[in-house]
Symmetry: C2
């Protein structure tokens, strides 16, 4: 989690806590669903129930965006969704590169959730000559040697890294040198990056291990 809170500029600077940012995405998804049901307003209590948080926390989270609720009524679904989108920077379109078109890479390339939330997988990159040139979910796989060109041409600032662990750091360095400033890392490796680059790591095996810990606790959890 190489995400430091940039000590807010000279203005009245509203700083949104990291914990809040992580939840905004969830609120937004639920709000989008409500919008499709033609629901026009929602109270913090209702939205909190739908997103699995407590309503005080939800209200505090939303208060960081500004004051968009109406006392005695609730929040306007459309307005709130719009404000969250704004804060999350989803109003501008973002092109994403995916490096490492293996099993997981291919699955992610086709993941509907990305496209439907405004992220376009604009480039697929792989080192395997057998894969280069093939088309996966409508996008042609480019060779790893072209990485720098692809990143520049497609104006890419966000990359998804699904390479094998041994090459992850090297590929990461090249992405950063080419101008990428955010990386979603699925390789089981701790990446080191300059301070201006954000990395988020998704560690699938670690997730299961955390569940295993809780399983262990539940079954007696004998303390030796």
């Amino acid at each position: 989690m190489t995400v430091q809170r940039e000590a807010a500029a000279g203005n009245g600077a509203r700083v949104v806590p990291d914990a809040t940012v992580a939840r905004l995405a969830v609120y937004l998804r639920v709000l989008t669903g409500l919008g499709e049901d033609a629901t026009t307003t929602v109270s913090s209590e209702e939205l909190a129930a739908a997103t699995g948080v407590n309503s005080a926390k939800l209200r505090k989270d939303l208060s960081f965006l500004g004051s968009y609720g109406i006392r005695g009524v609730g929040y306007d679904v459309a307005t709130l969704a719009e404000q969250i989108s704004r804060v999350l920077g989803l109003t501008v379109h973002r092109n994403v590169a995916l490096v490492g078109v293996g099993n997981l890479g291919q699955a992610l390339a086709g993941y509907a959730g990305f496209a439907s939330r405004g992220f376009r997988i604009a480039a697929l990159i792989d080192a395997d000559p057998g894969r280069v040139g093939t088309t996966v979910h409508g996008v042609t796989v480019r060779d790893l040697t072209d990485l720098e060109h692809v990143v520049a041409d497609e104006k890419i600032t966000i990359a998804v890294l699904t390479t094998p662990a041994p090459v992850a750091q090297e590929v990461c360095d090249r992405l950063v040198a080419a101008g990428v400033t955010s990386i979603l890392n699925f390789a089981p490796v701790v990446l080191s990056v300059p301070h201006h680059v954000d990395v988020r790591k998704v560690d699938l095996a670690a997730e299961l291990q955390i569940l295993s810990f809780h399983e262990n606790r539940k079954n007696g959890a004998l303390i030796v």
Copy 2:
């Protein structure tokens, strides 16, 4: 994050904080790597550097396991790995069921990181008749209607949920009724479960949105 700290039993009860548990998995991976390099001891400073945390935090984390370091020397790699495995409950073998054998499900079924860390995908379950009966990464896909039998027969307590969102809650309910007590949820849905069941959610689109937020901040982040 439906993971409440079960108010430790009557004994001297050492409670490992959630934040620490999440990092233990990372330490363990690095330790395993060191073990293969025939490194026998490691200092908190070295291990901290390799895992991207600060050394004080690492030492505090490890202190929850007990006192396995040697002052002036460091930690024995093998011993430490063993202790972490014990606390994470990785000493017992755990069978995992995966429900929803779509793109993502297939990729996860073949994910080497699961197998190499002691999690065996013991069952694949899907509702699509076209997929039932096929073999994916050596495991035969079973029909959703057999879910209860499969869970019971394979003594499964952990499930990975990669179904489409609309059926996730329903499948979840059946898993829980069948005896599953931990769920790793990839469906973009907030699951509701009884208090004795732990759910961890991996929200891929949310991860990109969080990166998007930080991108936004970096580029001026005009405050309107």
